[in-house]
């Protein structure tokens, strides 16, 4: 098995999960409480990666990262190298691609929190932000952990977007799923099957953990 690809996949999945906890939780908290009339628009944008073919998403991300777009140009002038076909570019793409896998379980868990708990905290003089960290987040912890685990597993196995945005550069953008594809192309079925079996085992374990967490009642 390609150890370099394995390490890269796990690093990518871990960083993506971390990034989505930072970005996804505020978005989910907003979705769980907002009564804004255009909220369905935001929900649709978040869910788009679920239905779009990875090649379509990857294509747009590639264009956005390229030197033709203002974002791509700004990146190059700041960091001195393009975002496309780099590990950083892969990370950005993974975050976008896995957004619904994090935000949807987060939002479901947060909207299941009894609003009276939040109100009780407010009457006790605790600010909205502190209430989020002291009440909403701990009470919805099982759902948030489930979302994070799903994000990790999903990133570990992604293929299409990675290929479009990252290509196949060993040590930089070559992930486990790309390694499998490569092995099959070279008719190296033994390597492909070992790697595939490994990913299957990881995915299955992750799902078992997720569903066990979901079954457990809220701490108390």
């Amino acid at each position: 098995m390609d150890v370099e690809a394995l390490r890269l996949s796990f690093t990518l999945a871990a960083l993506t999960t971390f990034a989505l906890l930072v970005i996804g939780l505020p978005v989910a908290a907003w979705l769980a409480t907002s009564r804004w009339r255009w909220k369905p628009l935001v929900e649709s944008v978040v869910a788009l990666p679920l239905v779009l073919p990875p090649t379509v998403l990857g294509f747009y991300l590639l264009v956005a990262m390229g030197p033709m777009s203002p974002f791509g140009r700004a990146w190059i002038s700041t960091f001195g190298r393009p975002l496309a076909f780099s590990f950083e570019g892969l990370l950005v793409a993974s975050v976008v691609y896995s957004l619904p896998f994090a935000v949807q379980p987060f939002a479901a868990a947060l909207s299941a929190v009894d609003p009276r708990l939040v109100e009780a905290s407010h009457t006790l003089g605790v600010s909205r932000l502190a209430t989020f960290f002291r009440v909403s987040l701990p009470v919805s912890a099982p759902g948030v952990v489930a979302g994070a685990v799903l994000t990790f597993a999903h990133t570990l196995g992604e293929f299409g977007v990675v290929l479009m945005v990252g290509g196949n550069i060993p040590g930089e953008t070559r992930t486990l799923s790309i390694a499998i594809f490569d092995a099959v192309e070279q008719l190296d079925y033994a390597t492909a099957s070992r790697t595939a079996l490994f990913l299957l085992a990881v995915s299955f374990t992750v799902l078992v953990v997720t569903y066990s967490l979901r079954r457990r009642p809220v701490l108390g």
Binding site: T123, V126, V139, G220
Partner: protein
């Protein structure tokens, strides 16, 4: 700490029902103002507006000279800054924290070394010291209620708000805790506003009460006065046709307890654990009228008096009898005709001892 609460708010809901309520009450330390009304009358909406949890469409709310809400001036003080204690109907304890964590939750403004002492002190007041390390899931209904009270009281609020604090409890626990809660509220040294739809609760816990009907405050006054003399028909319908008489308990007669209301003696079944001062409640439907004192009956209370007024209400007649106390009887039209009831006619009012319900007053 004496504060005056002034509320004049309007709030509409998509369903059509709305609240348009105003009252203006001085709140004494230890005093309890009851917001009384049937389900959907808007009393919880009003309480939430006072707490700052709901924002009315228009109007103003002030307490102790401080403006909490004023739609015209664009003022809405957030709940965090109002320093009120709020006890929710189902207590809303934080499930992920121990009782200690719940009680300490609002003590962020205190120095760290003071928090433990405040938790212990509040726990002693509520007698929950032995429960502090348990999670809410491991507490009984009555224990949760006391933890919820402790949590609300620990930061020393200026005003305590209670939303149906006994309704989530089973009947025996409710009976037991009602007296405890009354004693607690009266000894706190801060005023309380309590929402209830239960008459016994209103009588037992309240000093003054505001009656809400369909989103509007219809009457404000001393609890027994409001029950005894509803301002209008809507209030009468809500508070029920109930005779509420302040009485002093003056010993026992056999197994029954003697309650004195001025010159009038009432015999009642002893509910136990009564203080000397109580309210005697008799439903008007349970007062029987008799023209001349005649044969012996099984009713223990025979009160001689004269008819003071007669009001026809469909098939029924509401008869007020002056027999030392004013007693309202609800009799059928044919019954009234048979007795030839008219103003000034002497009658006797018969009330069974078990129809006299005694409610403590503090």
């Amino acid at each position: 700490m004496t504060g005056k609460i002034s509320v004049d708010v309007r709030r509409s809901f998509p369903g059509g029902a709305g609240v348009r309520a105003a009252f203006d009450e001085p709140l004494a330390p230890g005093g309890v103002l009851v917001l009384f009304g049937p389900t959907g009358s808007g009393k919880t909406t009003l309480l939430r507006a006072v707490a700052g949890l709901d924002r009315p469409d228009a109007g103003s709310i002030s307490f102790g000279g401080e403006v909490w809400f004023d739609s015209a001036a664009g003022v809405h003080v957030p709940p965090q800054l109002r320093r009120v204690g709020f006890v929710f109907q189902d207590f809303a304890l934080f499930p992920h924290l121990s009782a200690r964590g719940n009680v300490a939750f609002g003590l962020g403004g205190l120095r760290l070394d003071e928090r433990g002492g405040r938790v212990e002190e509040t726990a002693r007041l509520l007698r929950i010291e032995h429960l502090l390390d348990r999670r809410p899931a491991g507490l009984s209904g009555g224990e949760r209620q006391r933890v919820a009270l402790a949590r609300a009281l620990a930061p020393r609020p200026r005003l305590l708000l209670l939303d149906e604090p006994l309704s989530a409890l089973d009947a025996p626990t409710r009976e037991r805790l009602r007296g405890e809660l009354r004693a607690l509220l009266h000894h706190l040294g801060i005023p309380s506003i309590l929402v209830t739809h239960d008459r016994v609760e209103a009588l037992a816990l309240g000093d003054r009460m505001a009656v809400l009907v369909e989103g509007a405050v219809r009457q404000v006054g001393e609890v027994d006065r409001v029950f005894g003399a509803p301002a209008d028909e809507a209030v009468a319908r809500v508070v029920g046709t109930e005779n509420v008489v302040p009485v002093r308990l003056a010993g026992h007669e056999g197994e029954l307890v003697v309650a004195e209301a001025g010159p009038v003696r009432l015999l009642a079944v002893d509910p136990g654990n009564l203080p000397a001062e109580a309210f005697a409640c008799v439903r008007a439907e349970e007062v029987i009228l008799e023209r001349a004192p005649g044969a012996a009956t099984s009713a223990r209370n025979h009160l001689a008096g004269v008819v003071d007024s007669l009001v026809h209400e469909g098939p029924l007649v509401r008869v007020t009898v002056d027999c030392g106390i004013r007693l309202v009887a609800l009799v059928t039209r044919s019954g009234a005709e048979q007795l030839a009831l008219a103003v000034g006619v002497p009658v006797a009012a018969l009330v069974k001892a078990q129809a006299v319900r005694l409610v403590p007053r503090g």
